[in-house]
Amino acid sequence: MRILLLVVACVVLLLVGALLAVDRHAPELVREGLVRLGFDDLVAFDEVHADPLDDRVVVRGGRLIDPSGGQIVAQVDTLTVDLPPGWREGELPMPVALHGRGGRAVLRWDAAGEQLTVVDVLVDLVERILAMLPPGDEHHPLLPMTFDDLDLVVHAPNHPLERLSGVSVSIRERNAVVIVLIQPGPGQGEVELAFDHDGFRRFEAHGMRATPTLLGIVPEVGWFLADGLAPHGVVDVEVTHTDELLVRGRVHDASFASPYVPFPLGPADASFEVVGDRLRVDEAAVGFEGGSVRVSMLGPIDDLDVRLDVAHAAFREELLGLVPAYARIERIRCHDGGTFELGLSLHADLTDPEAPLSIDGQGGFHIEAVDVTAMSEQPLHLTDVVGRFRVDDEGLVLPDVSARLARGSVRGSGDVSVVTGDYHAQLRVEDVDIALIHPSFHPGCECTHTISGWLQADADLLGTFGADGLPTSHGQASVRAGDLWDTPLVEAVLLAIPEIGEVKKDRQRVELSFSTLRDRMTIEDVKIASDLLTLTGQDGSVDLDGDIRLKLSVFQLPFGVVGRVLEFITQQLLLEVQVEGTVSEPVVTPLPLPVVTGPLRSFVNGVLGLFSDDEEVPAPPPAGH
């Protein structure tokens, strides 16, 4: 509306100038006329050329001036006034048409984002003109006016320059209503303004570029729209002003490059309404790659309720850029593929970027592939990760998440602070094939050992995304139907204790309780047991760089109740080894054997020989589940 007022005012101004300029001493007369009318502080021109043979007057370098500072805020390069044939010098004929070409106007916001100098000047000018019109003159027919090749430039602090080039303007009267039609260029839409004698009556824009149009007609909301959504597209708008400003419009074929959203949005088709200072958007559809979000907004922009609903959209990793902590989660990488849903209510003061944002929502997700880095460069590959979530001002709560991992599954629940990245999680691993995952747990080495078995584990984890080292955790794990004979640790133990002799390499069972803190895993208890050989240890540790310290007790006893009784008895006659070095290259040192245990151990080994079964063939490692 204000942009158009500028143009209308220029037209009126120059028309007056032109009428006064039809004389051989035109420039002087015009300047005198401007002084007499009190317009000399608002308008100026370079020259006026009147040619009676051509029946026209040409004004060059017309300017609109800010009276408070003397700055030029708009100009028209050439204004041609067509006069009726046969006019005579010294007369003031009624022009029959007016045509302008070239020129520019600048809309400039100051740092406060409110003042539009050119608009203030125009309003001043229009008010002065209206004050001069005699009563009843409003019925005088308006001469047709056209302007071509105008530039309109919009300056706003911290905002890219908006420029409309080649703008055409035509003004005509219909039923006592002045219609101003502005066309930025071929295929770039049009704007129509209507004025009656009481002033502004209606503004309509169709197919106009969204940002300059919205900035021009509703500056306050326009700021939010321009800076918060950065729309690129076209807009249809209708503005009326009775008791308060009423704006109704529709943005269509739009895209958004909002700084708040880490991926492009669009196409969008949104109807909106501004009544006074209240914005209302009902279920606008805003697309993004893989889906769309329905957006509703209600309220003044400093107290705005926003509702976002995403139904069954395709999951892409860049969506997680909306989660503030995700960038710091270096150990988890989600891949494109899957679906998600989201229902989110926001309450925001969009005029203050520092104001707290109130969030409440929930949703669900299915991510087809997620990589998790454990203790080596080879990540764990999770598939079909599915779960629900709730989000509020405190953070993100995941009450039930599960995934496929190495022919088994992982289940979990937890919560994450979206502000600090602190998290607390409970994880459960069920029937995972360690043959597929053990390379992910060898710090700094490429494991080539043949290891198999089925892992079950529970753990509580506490940590901060982005923090160095391991999370603080406590848990237990077991391996069933295991084949761990080829691990460097077991191999080194067997080599270090020749008393063990030949071992039947049947299935093993591992029981482990552990905790982690920073860069160290503490082995609270570990038991690696096969039918006739058992290794037990307590209070060991493994660092993230692979260093290991662990004291192991080694004894050859069978499982079972009898075995456990014997285990208790033989605690006194066991072999002990100290494990140091690294996980990939452990150094095992036998500890001195008490004098009394040697003969007893020989006796026990002799008894156990009765239970040996050289004919039984160990079962092959599991290949599937």
């Binding site: 997700f365 779960g387 029937d431 599937g624």
Partner: protein
Amino acid sequence: MSGALPSALALTLLACAGCAAAERGFYAPVGAAESPSLVHWTEGRPDELVFEVACQGSYLNQVAGRPARTMHVQLEVLRPREGAVTLALDALRLTLQPADGGAPIDLLPSEAWWGDERLERALRIPGWSRRAFDLFFDDPDAESAPPALARLRWTWQAGGDTGYGDCQFRRIPAGGPGQPSLDPLGDAAFGYRDGFYMPIEGDLGPRALQKGVEVREHYVFHDPEGWFVGWF
């Protein structure tokens, strides 16, 4: 448990109890390629509902003190969208085609488990989740041979939507490719080899959820090596 003495003892006890080795049937989805591991049948829409079915085979076991030939089916359901899915147990039906070509036999689930939780009426999968179920279909005719074909059909409901599932398994020829090894299990408490549940010959014994400290996706319901396991 392994070792010559316990194994011999176990065999002796089984023989004394009159439990001759019962025929075990292993199955693969109709049309599936031979595999050394258990093969699952999968169907569904990855953005809506996915069913994955494994047939753990037909074996002899004791149910409420009576012998029964049981078809053990594992069903996993992934619901990657909002809205719970329900499968009523009485809308789950297993049709067995006897090996001798006799009339088909329809069975309803005798027991259904989600992990270590027994389900009485329906299988329920909340939105945005997955659930793995163990289904036992008991044929009271313990003398029957493992069926040649097993066809599982079910009806699911999600809100106002209703859908149907249907899959068919064929018996893997005894001794042929695709049949798991019948060697003694290396770790009976784990219960699986190559994805097959208790792939051994003989009666698996009384069916009851086995105690275990580990949380499992599919639990173990039999202890085929008898009461003496764990004593040595």
